[in-house]
């Protein structure tokens, strides 16, 4: 069981949050209402998606104070727990892309490493900036028009309709198209959270002494470029693109990886 501890915790968190959101609509629970765009926690604390907020501000609309405060709270929260903890612990699309990835490994589709010339892991930052520009030009929060994240979440709360096809598209893209295609290359929300969590306090720490260089962590990691220190140095994973999913911690048989409080002291 120890090799799926964080995986289980993440699924419980992801599904638990969706249950709370679903029940807010279906049964009128006042625990977590709304969607990721903007929510109300315990009927009083406003929360809002910082990237969505940025897009709405780019359209020139002066947002209500609830959203601005909510976005600030979310930014502060993820600055502590790691920005992309949203991606692996909250976002429902993560379950879809993780499934695609797992199937890729089972079907042995990853034998060849493909180098896509214009689909790099930093493409998402371009898309993130582009989303803000398009929002300003068209006058509507541009990513929210097609975001599979909120389409999936609203689908679960209010019913999918034809929106389910977007989820399938992401699944197929990640399974047969590009490995980690959506979450690791395209998603501008993940890009925004990478930046927010750049200096987060909770980080995975590598112990070079204990490492046997089995590379299981690199196989399972959805952003394996962040694990460049494996078998080289005993340092924390400091890259903002690490989602703090803890899969590397789970699969490590040598206790060479563990969550820890990041040390900011220069060595």
């Amino acid at each position: 069981m120890s090799n799926i501890k964080y995986l289980l915790l993440r699924r419980i968190t992801q599904i638990g949050l969706l249950v709370l959101y679903f029940a807010a609509n279906a049964y009128g629970w006042h625990i977590l209402e709304g969607t990721f765009g903007a929510s109300i926690l315990f009927g009083i604390i406003p929360l809002a998606d910082p990237y969505t907020t940025l897009q709405v501000l780019a359209t020139g609309f002066v947002l209500g104070a609830d959203v601005l405060l909510g976005a600030l709270l979310i930014v502060l929260f993820y600055m502590i727990v790691g920005g992309r903890a949203f991606c692996s612990w909250v976002c429902p699309i993560n379950m879809v892309t993780d499934l695609a990835n797992w199937l890729r490994r089972k079907l042995k589709l990853d034998k060849e490493e493909v180098n896509y010339r214009f689909l790099k892991r930093n493409t998402r930052y371009w898309i993130m900036v582009l989303g803000v520009i398009v929002s300003a030009v068209v006058g509507v929060a541009a990513f929210e028009v097609l975001s599979p994240i909120t389409i999936m979440q609203r689908g679960i709360i209010f019913g999918f309709g034809a929106g389910i096809s977007v989820i399938f598209a992401i699944f197929l893209f990640d399974l047969f198209g590009v490995k980690n295609g959506w979450c690791g290359h395209l998603c501008p929300l993940g890009a925004a959270y990478s930046i927010i969590g750049k200096s987060s306090i909770i980080r995975v720490k590598h112990d070079h002494e204990a490492c046997t260089a089995c590379m299981k962590c690199k196989v399972v990691c959805p952003e394996n470029q962040v694990l460049h220190m494996i078998d080289k140095e005993s340092i924390s994973v400091t890259d903002g693109e690490c989602t703090n999913c803890g899969r590397c911690v789970d699969v490590c048989d040598d206790d060479a990886l563990e969550f820890s409080i990041r040390s900011f002291a220069k060595r």
Binding site: V56, L63, G64, V67, G70, I133, V137, A142, E144, A162
Partner: protein, 274 residues
């Protein structure tokens, strides 16, 4: 030296291609976003900003729809909850995805006095002030979700059959819809009871539309922008002080075109091709 030149060329080529592809992506994305915005015949919740601003402001959180379906007011007579009026647009609804709307023939707005859907809006897309009276209290009668329109030819009251279904269904009874009596010349001894919608009062709740007895409702709600005209500054009610206020800043305009070259007499007598 040759190597550094080569590197530089490569750098420029990559940069140019990246910028070019970004521009391509931006164009496609803008085009798509602009197209999906264009769903004008959509009824928004009470207090919604004008459509253009509403689409900017709505953060697609669904709090209005959740407040609507879980409201304490406007239950069925047996105390059970009614279906929620507000739906969140999903793929296939052909409305801007994730935004709230309602369809009167499915579930109309029941015009709750406590307006649960509006104050919960965190972004300001639903404006509390627009549905508040002078004392600052919520007043659903002030909402303008749309405006009901009667299609005379399919309205059986205009045929001379007595029907006041819409009139009685209206929450602002005898205000938003009034009945105009006219003599039925066809029979010579009956009256027409004609439903007339008063656009100053109609909130666009759609209760008339769902009450209408014809196969496809002869009275239906359209967004105000689509069910109203505008006289403009060329026409003013000379007998109405208040209407004259409307054009007090109007400037004299002289129209110069082919037609204005000629005397009025000339072109009135001339055969004009349209």
């Amino acid at each position: 030296m040759a190597n550094s030149n080569n590197n530089r060329r490569k750098f420029f080529a990559t940069t140019l291609q990246s910028v070019g592809l970004t521009a391509l992506g931006g164009l496609l994305w803008s085009g798509y976003s602009d197209e999906v915005k264009a769903s004008p015949l959509v009824l928004r919740p009470p207090g919604a900003l004008p459509e253009e601003d509403f689409l900017k402001a709505c953060i697609k959180c669904g709090l209005c729809a959740e407040a609507c379906v879980n409201r304490d007011s406007n239950k069925n007579r047996d105390g059970s909850s009614r279906e929620g009026t507000l739906q969140m647009a999903k793929g296939g609804d052909h409305r801007m995805i994730g935004t709230p709307f309602f369809v009167p023939t499915e579930v109309p707005c029941y015009m709750c006095e406590d307006i649960p859907c509006v104050p919960v809006c965190p972004s300001g897309a639903l404006d509390v002030l627009s549905v508040s009276n002078e004392k600052g209290e919520l007043d659903i009668d002030k909402s303008r979700m749309g405006l009901a329109v009667v299609h005379k030819e399919s309205c059986i009251a205009f045929w001379g059959i007595q029907c006041d279904a819409c009139y009685r269904a209206c929450p602002l009874l005898d205000e938003a819809i009034t009945l105009e009596y006219q003599k039925n010349e066809r029979t010579g001894k009956h009256a027409f009871l004609l439903p007339i919608v008063n656009s100053d009062i109609c909130t666009g709740c759609g209760l008339c539309e769902i009450a209408c007895v014809t196969e496809k409702p002869a009275i239906f709600v359209l967004p105000v922008e689509h069910s109203t005209g505008r006289a403009g500054s060329h026409y003013v009610k000379g007998w109405d002080k208040k209407d004259q206020e409307r054009v007090k800043d109007a400037k004299e305009i002289e129209t110069k075109n082919e037609r204005s070259e000629a005397e009025a007499e000339d072109y009135l007598n001339m055969e004009v091709e349209y």
